[in-house]
């Protein structure tokens, strides 16, 4: 059941891949604009590069998360899905995994933009990939749940960030810290602590949001 739900989500994402490009351009534009906040100071830009990368990804995520429920609201497709003899948790995890994958790809695609604009290169690509995967998981678990709620409302564009942003503070903090330790060096050996925090956040929200999602979409 989960496989079917995931397959449906990935197929939907593949067929609307033009949107993914648009979001990527949006994220890259955000990274470009952040550099104007600092000015052409190369060392300062490098210091803040991790924060800018994650803020860029966070802003982009509000677009992709909201979009992931857009098709469910057309022709009351969600109600049709709920009529299936299936567990709503499968629907949730299908969507959350698809969003996770999409955000991970988006994060990976934004890294070269960050390297070029802020001169924030690193050779520890595997570690960086791991942090992006964990950070994207932290955004997508509560993000999918709240997108499912707000998609049914008129004020969805406004409410999703309002609910999501305060909640993901620990995940954002840990991702930014871990990424900047990878880029700027880790003399105090703090990276593992931040990755553990991020993993704990992911574990808590992936299990809790799955449990609560059934109550959110029930009629």
């Amino acid at each position: 059941m989960l496989a079917a739900a995931l397959r449906k989500e990935l197929l939907l994402q593949w067929r609307t891949r033009g949107q993914m490009m648009a979001v990527l351009v949006f994220g890259a534009t955000a990274l470009l604009l952040f550099s104007f906040a600092i000015g052409p100071d190369a060392s300062a830009l490098r210091t803040f590069s991790a924060g800018f990368l994650w803020l860029g990804l966070l802003l982009s995520s509000t677009l992709t998360l909201a979009e992931s429920f857009h098709s469910e609201m057309e022709n009351r497709a969600l109600e049709g899905l709920l009529l299936l003899p299936s567990d709503p948790r499968a629907l949730y995890y299908g969507k959350a995994i698809a969003n996770w994958l999409q955000l991970t790809l988006l994060g990976i695609a934004l890294v070269p933009v960050m390297v070029v604009l802020y001169d924030a290169g690193t050779t520890q690509l595997l570690k960086l990939l791991g942090i992006i995967i964990l950070g994207a998981a932290g955004l997508s678990a509560p993000g999918t749940l709240y997108a499912g709620m707000t998609a049914q409302l008129k004020a969805k564009q406004m409410l999703l960030p309002l609910l999501l942003f305060p909640l993901i503070v620990p995940a954002l903090l840990a991702s930014v810290k871990a990424t900047s330790l990878v880029i700027l060096g880790d003399p105090m050996d703090q990276l593992n602590a931040w990755i553990t925090l991020l993993a704990a956040f992911d574990l808590i929200y992936w299990s809790m949001c799955g449990l609560l999602y059934g109550r959110v979409i029930e009629e």
């Binding site: 749940l145 309002l162 305060p166 503070v169 620990p170 704990a200 809790m208 109550r215 959110v216």
Partner: protein
């Protein structure tokens, strides 16, 4: 769906009266009787409202969490009205806490704001629960509103310790928590009086506010004829 019965007794007003009385005595003792602190001087007297606001704010938010869980299991709308009331009172106390903290921080630390764990957690908490109040305004269906705000309350409440520890690792200027163990015994009476004063005020406000929520809910849910009949009865 069963509509919550609306209590009409005088209990909340008794709580409010006791709260005002205790808070007046506590503030008088705190401002005029208790000695000034050696290093901070009179500025420190803000502690007598700051610390009770912190305790009771946390209590109100914890009560909201309990209401959310009980509502999800029972579906009893009385707990939805209590949830709305306690989140509103908790948000008010969290806002007061941030405002008093800034007033206290400027003369003692030299800054209005500091990225200290407790301060940052309170600010994030304030925004998280303001978001839930905003969500409640935008959902027209009372059943969905109650379920969604319960879910959002549980998710936000679980986040509080995680935010606290992440910010603590990230940055740590705040003096240790002021409890009766860490402050001089001369400061105890006004601190305790104000803590109970604000506690009683908080209970009173939550009771009054949940009654208002229950009336609004009844107007939303009841058929127009039933409301009309009741109005006829009252007339």
């Amino acid at each position: 769906m069963e509509l919550p019965k609306i209590q009409t007794n005088k209990a909340p007003y008794v709580f409010l009266a006791i709260g005002v009385l205790l808070l007046s005595i506590g503030s008088y003792v705190g401002l005029f009787v208790a000695p000034a602190e050696r290093y901070m001087g009179n500025v420190q007297r803000i502690m007598y409202v700051h610390v009770p606001c912190a305790w009771n704010g946390l209590l109100a938010i914890t009560f909201a969490f309990v209401c959310a869980i009980v509502f999800l299991f029972s579906g009893d709308f009385r707990w939805d009205t209590r949830l709305e009331a306690s989140i509103e009172v908790g948000v008010l106390l969290a806002f007061l806490l941030c405002a008093q903290g800034s007033i206290w921080a400027k003369p003692t630390w030299g800054v209005w704001w500091d990225w200290d764990p407790r301060l940052t957690t309170t600010a994030v908490l304030l925004f998280a629960f303001l978001g839930i109040l905003a969500l409640r305004r935008f959902v027209d269906d009372p059943v969905k509103r109650a379920i969604w705000s319960s879910v959002a309350t549980i998710i936000a409440y679980v986040d509080v310790p995680i935010i606290y520890f992440s910010v603590r690792w990230w940055n740590s200027l705040h003096q240790a928590q002021s409890t009766t163990n860490t402050v001089s015994s001369q400061f105890w009476p006004p601190l305790r009086l104000n803590a109970f004063g604000i506690l009683f005020l908080m209970i009173g406000f939550i009771m009054v506010r949940s009654r208002i929520a229950a009336y609004r809910l009844r107007n939303e849910m009841a058929s127009p004829i039933a409301v009309g009949e009741e109005a006829g009865e009252l007339a």
